[in-house]
């Protein structure tokens, strides 16, 4: 029996978040906390970045480019490109959640992450708009809290753990991104990823400042063209 009201939705959201979603967050955000420490962010800014950016890949872009002393504008564009997916995700999620005011909708959009979006879009999620609002709120608030704590733990771990362990925390970021990209579906995404990894090596070597932006445009366009060809073949 699926919950019908807001409070039932919140409870269902909290239950869904406990387990795999929070475990993955603990592992990945611990790595990010270590990276934030390695790249020279303060502990407070590291935790704030998790809550306010709330999209791990974009956060890693920010920390990595900050460490490379990139220009603020170049960092903002690259982070924005890494997080462009929030636009289509919000477009598809928002109409399914109950809510009248703009402030409430913006709050839900800020709480939204790739994980909360995926869980709210699953067939097992509640169906009525109020229960869905509760589900997304409960799920995302718990995730954000766990993620903020994990960031702090990773930050302190990088500062205090023996060198090999601190380095391993840093390595989590690369490992997490690698598996995330392996898990993408479709030929267009595969080509975008392969082009990005291969072309990314020379591009980022010669353009440490704007390399990620150029890589995104090149790889994204290759993926788009390959996907377009696939769509014509199917139709």
């Amino acid at each position: 029996m699926k919950p019908q009201d807001f409070r039932g939705g919140v409870r269902a959201g909290l239950r869904s978040a406990i387990g795999l979603p929070t475990l993955v967050l603990v592992g990945s955000l611990t790595g990010y906390g270590a990276l934030a420490h390695d790249t020279g962010f303060g502990a407070g800014l590291a935790v704030l970045s998790t809550i306010l950016i709330w999209g791990l890949p974009g956060q890693i872009v920010m920390a990595e480019m900050y460490a490379a002393s990139a220009d603020v504008l170049a960092i903002a564009i690259a982070v924005g490109m890494a997080n462009m997916r929030f636009f289509p995700m919000a477009v598809s999620l928002m109409p399914t959640l109950h809510g009248e005011g703009v402030a409430g909708r913006l709050a839900q959009a800020q709480l939204m992450s790739a994980t909360s979006w995926a869980y709210a879009m699953r067939s097992t999620a509640p169906e009525t708009p109020s229960a869905r609002l509760g589900y997304h709120t409960g799920f995302a608030c718990l995730c954000m809290t766990v993620a903020a704590v994990a960031t702090m733990v990773g930050y302190l771990g990088a500062a205090g753990l023996p060198k090999p362990l601190a380095l391993a925390l840093l390595f989590i970021n690369a490992c997490f991104l690698l598996l995330l990209l392996l898990d993408t579906k479709g030929r267009g995404a595969a080509f975008a990823v392969i082009t990005g990894v291969v072309a990314g090596i020379p591009i980022n070597t010669y353009l440490p400042d704007t390399g990620l932006i150029v890589t995104g445009i090149v790889g994204g366009t290759v993926g788009f063209l390959v996907d377009g060809m696939g769509q014509r073949e199917r139709s």
Binding site: D38, T39, G40, G42, L45, S49, L52, I53, P57, G58, Q59, V61, M62, E64, Y66, A67, S69, I77, V79, M81, N83, M84, F86, F87, P88, A90, V91, S92, M94, R105, A109, P162, K163, P164, A166, L167, L170, F171, A174, C175, L178, L179, L181, A189, A192, T195, G196, V198, A199, G200, I201, G211, G216, I217, V218, G219, G220, T221, V222, F224
Partner: protein, 112 residues
């Protein structure tokens, strides 16, 4: 490793937060008026993937921070172990990341 004042880090964070929030807000205001599967969104999604792929190259092959003190063969080897564990565990992200990271810790520990 960086000599930036905290103010610069705060500015970088503020700019990154704004760049991210822009997309979320656009989604709120343009919901119901756009097709999430349209051509522009497909390009967005591929470009996002490509940015992350470029980021992976930077982290794994061209690291700048402390990771650069560990050889590329260890980084790629540990990543390969993570990928193998990921597929052996039927695409379990947690098992894959844990295996890759643990292998990396062991190799880094053995070298120090």
């Amino acid at each position: 490793m960086t000599a930036f004042a905290p103010a610069a880090a705060a500015l970088v964070l503020a700019a990154s937060v704004a760049a991210t929030f822009l997309w979320r807000a656009l989604g709120v205001f343009l919901a119901r008026r756009l097709d999430p599967k349209g051509a522009v969104f497909r390009w967005f999604s591929f470009a996002s993937f490509a940015v992350l792929a470029g980021l992976l190259s930077r982290l794994l092959i061209l690291p700048t921070g402390d990771l650069a003190t560990i050889g590329i063969e260890v980084r790629l080897g540990a990543a390969a172990i993570g990928v193998a564990a990921f597929y052996l565990s039927r695409r379990n992200l947690l098992v894959g990341v844990a295996s890759g990271t643990l292998s990396f810790a062991l190799a880094a520990g053995a070298m120090n």
